[in-house]
């Protein structure tokens, strides 16, 4: 990790509980959970170029899978949370198959439909999911009956660090380069020996696994889940975090998700204005900083090199 910004972020994350009060730390923890899902979405949308407007659906699958496994079948959380990630990844793989035939706005609409289906499914199957009353999953516990905010925070930081490390490894791997090739020029990818079907399916599964894990964490950190937590609004929130933070950037996804979560809470006093301010901020970022907040600092402080690496959809229409 040679990047001074990344070091600063890591050090700040460790020291934060010393200066941020309890509730603030809890909000930050939620932001880090969203960051885990945003990193996954970033692999799919930023790295592999496949738009998903229904990613909160995978979070919902993860949250309810882990909650139900632990509540109904007495699975320990150490087992139910990873199983939730696997379950979401399998659903992601299944969704990836029909999605292979779609791209751009058609894929966006299809994934939006998936997200809506999941939240409606969770709402309607009351006997299993509790309907709009939701579920009260076990909370993550260590020594005390009620988990301390700093414990939840450090636990989430540790998980997020692991997920970030894995995503960075994927980005710089054979698979990561294949994703970029499929995103930017599918014909070039094929001519180079890359199977676009396998690459997109891998991206869908991996991305859904991240979201499933994030959903499971949310369930056991908050201690309550309901279908409205995984609605279309949550999916748009995730996509906004990825775009505002910086597409195809792991730290960008983290910064975007944390900034949006904290901002959302900070603006809770002006509830009516919140959406307007949010929408306005998003328009400004997309218009003036298309590389996102993370790349904005790259251009400014620590390097004089222009960052040409701005994500763009330059999909080849033919050779």
């Amino acid at each position: 990790m040679r990047n001074p910004w990344a070091w600063s972020l890591a050090l700040g994350a460790v020291l934060l509980p010393a200066v941020v009060p309890g509730y603030g730390l809890y909000v930050l923890t939620l932001g880090l959970i969203f960051a885990a899902a945003a990193i996954g979405l970033n692999l799919l949308t930023g790295q592999a170029g496949q738009v998903s407007m229904g990613h909160a659906g995978f979070m919902g699958i993860g949250a309810y899978t882990s909650a139900l496994l632990s509540l109904r079948f007495a699975f320990p959380l150490a087992l139910s949370i990873p199983l939730a990630a696997v379950g979401a990844a399998v659903v992601g793989l299944a969704l990836g198959v029909p999605a292979l035939r779609l791209s751009g706005p058609y894929l966006a609409v299809a994934t939006l439909g998936f997200g809506t289906f999941v939240s409606q499914f969770l709402l309607k199957w009351e006997s299993l999911t509790g309907g709009y009353m939701g579920l009260k999953p076990h909370r993550l516990l260590w020594t005390s009956a009620i988990p301390e905010d700093w414990q939840l925070y450090y636990f989430t930081v540790a998980i997020l660090a692991g997920l970030s490390w894995l995503a960075l490894r994927v980005e710089r791997s054979r698979l990561g380069r294949a994703m970029v090739a499929v995103r930017d020029a599918e014909w070039v990818a094929q001519a180079s020996g890359i199977d676009p079907v396998r690459t997109k399916l891998a991206a869908f599964a991996l991305s859904a696994g991240y979201a499933g894990l994030a959903g499971a964490l949310q369930a056991h950190v908050v201690g309550f889940i309901s279908p409205s937590d995984f609605s279309l609004q949550a999916s748009i929130f995730l996509l906004s975090a990825v775009v505002i933070g910086g597409l195809a950037s792991v730290p960008g996804a983290v910064v975007g998700a944390v900034a949006l979560t904290v901002g959302f809470q900070a603006l809770s006093g002006v509830r009516d204005l919140r959406s307007i301010l949010y929408g306005g901020a998003m328009v400004l970022v997309v218009m003036f900083f298309p590389g996102g907040l993370w790349r904005l600092r790259l251009n400014g402080l620590f390097t004089r090199k222009p960052v040409a690496v701005v994500w763009r959809r330059s999909r080849a229409t033919g050779p």
């Binding site: 054979r174 380069r177 970029v180 930017d184 001519a191 180079s192 020996g193 890359i194 040409a308």
Partner: protein, 244 residues
């Protein structure tokens, strides 16, 4: 030894338009073959059939004696077929080295060997100095060379070049011709060049195929083809270029 590339009775239709009409051709191992023809002659369509981006209505394609149409386009790199594109598409966010690495690691090499081959290929094409640069920062001629390096890094036995000289200036065209020839000698691969520039094809190719309106109208050495009456007729208006 069978031809590296053999096309038999190839017919391609796009709706009501016949893009290729009963084309037959064979390229021997180690040859540099050129495919020329006026705009719309079917040159790139032929290349797209061979690289499996277009499925023909009729006909067969053989690569080193084995039927090629049973494979998908992404399987060809591992078989030993590489290709470049008329307008090279650069992969955003990857350095020049990573770009070439994509060709090496998906063409059948793995791990450090793929990286080593990518570096060697950059060296061969005089691109080592820009290995860590984003290819988007490079001028168009160098982007074409990066695209060529990507195709070469898979160590192909058959290299398909789609209008490699398009957009290049005079000196760059001369350099490209020398580069293609030297690559053929050094790597021993068979090369098929689709090109508008008849001068370049004449200089570089051992054998030339001329297409017009989807039909093969002439084949032979560059000298034979340039004197062929059907070629002169097809290039009417460009006759002085062909006959120069």
């Amino acid at each position: 030894m069978p031809p590296v590339l053999e096309v038999r009775d190839l017919r391609v239709r796009f709706g009501g338009v016949t893009a290729l009409d009963g084309v037959n051709l064979a390229v021997a191992p180690g040859e540099v073959a050129g495919i020329i023809g006026p705009n719309g002659a079917g040159k790139t369509t032929l290349l797209n059939v061979v690289s499996r981006f277009v499925t023909p209505a009729q006909g067969t394609v053989y690569f080193a004696g084995q039927p090629l149409l049973r494979y998908k386009s992404h399987q060809l790199a591992r078989l030993g077929i590489g290709r470049t594109f008329q307008i090279p598409r650069m992969l955003v966010g990857l350095s020049v080295l990573d770009h070439v690495l994509v060709g090496a690691e998906h063409g059948g090499l793995s791990g450090p060997r793929a990286r080593q081959t990518a570096r060697e290929t950059l060296e061969q094409l005089n691109l080592s100095a820009v290995a860590d640069v984003s290819p988007l920062a490079l001028p168009a001629p160098l982007q074409k060379r990066v695209d060529l390096a990507r195709a070469l890094a898979g160590r192909p036995r058959l290299l398909l070049l789609d209008e490699p000289a398009a957009g290049l200036a005079g000196e760059e065209r001369t350099a490209l011709g020398e580069l293609v020839r030297s690559l053929q000698v050094r790597l021993g691969c068979t090369v098929v060049v689709v090109e508008h520039d008849v001068e370049l094809v004449s200089r570089v190719c051992d054998r030339v195929f001329v297409l017009n309106f989807g039909r093969l109208i002439a084949e032979g050495t560059p000298q034979e083809v340039r004197r062929h009456p059907a070629v002169l007729e097809a290039y009417l208006g460009e006759a002085e270029h062909v006959g120069a």
